[in-house]
Amino acid sequence: AQSVAQPEDQVNVAEGNPLTVKCTYSVSGNPYLFWYVQYPNRGLQFLLKYITGDNLVKGSYGFEAEFNKSQTSFHLKKPSALVSDSALYFCAVKLSGGQNFVFGPGTRLSVLP
């Protein structure tokens, strides 16, 4: 079955420190990977995506993600965390002819002042 895993329910990091939110995937064929962020009582906002090419993808709000085919991972990173980055982060893969996103369970990021 094709799936996305986010092994950490919660990530805590101090403001100004680098952050990593982990994602691993299991898909047949080429993976098309996405990161979304959800702030409280809001919809999901797109951060970045990996389709092909460079393994390091840059996205919104200073976030980037590293695609690693051998480890089937797509970890989200930011060099210096802000308190305002505190939110729920979802990794997703696109399937079914491009008609369906399958989401990971989400990781809650808390950035402490």
Partner: protein, 113 residues
């Protein structure tokens, strides 16, 4: 201008009632989705439409019926509401294809009492 808008934002109703949630997108996208987010924040696809045609129907009870009058609208009608239907429902849209991200509405929090 809101790209994907859902109404209502909150919906509280009694068991057994019938209710509808409306969704409109002004992005010119061909594909629209309904996702359900449960109390643990898991996101699961319910339906996917491409240009008014149903593409995905993910083992959703027959009480849920999507309707797409045109490609900018995808409404969700729910009959005979049950307690277990309480969740946040998100509408989203994207262009078809593997490399396109989705844009989400702000969600409709449905509470069945």
């Amino acid at each position: 201008d809101t790209a994907v808008s859902q109404t209502p934002k909150y919906l509280v109703t009694q068991m057994g009632n019938d209710k509808s949630i409306k969704c409109e997108q002004n992005l010119g996208h061909d594909t629209m989705y309904w996702y359900k987010q449960d109390s643990k924040k898991f996101l699961k696809i319910m339906f996917s439409y491409n240009n008014k045609e149903l593409i995905i129907n993910e083992t959703v009870p027959n009480r849920f019926s999507p309707k797409s009058p045109d490609k900018a609208h995808l409404n969700l009608h729910i009959n005979s509401l049950e307690l277990g239907d309480s969740a946040v429902y998100f509408c989203a849209s994207s262009q078809p294809g593997y490399n396109t991200e989705a844009f989400f509405g702000q969600g409709t929090r449905l509470t069945v009492v």
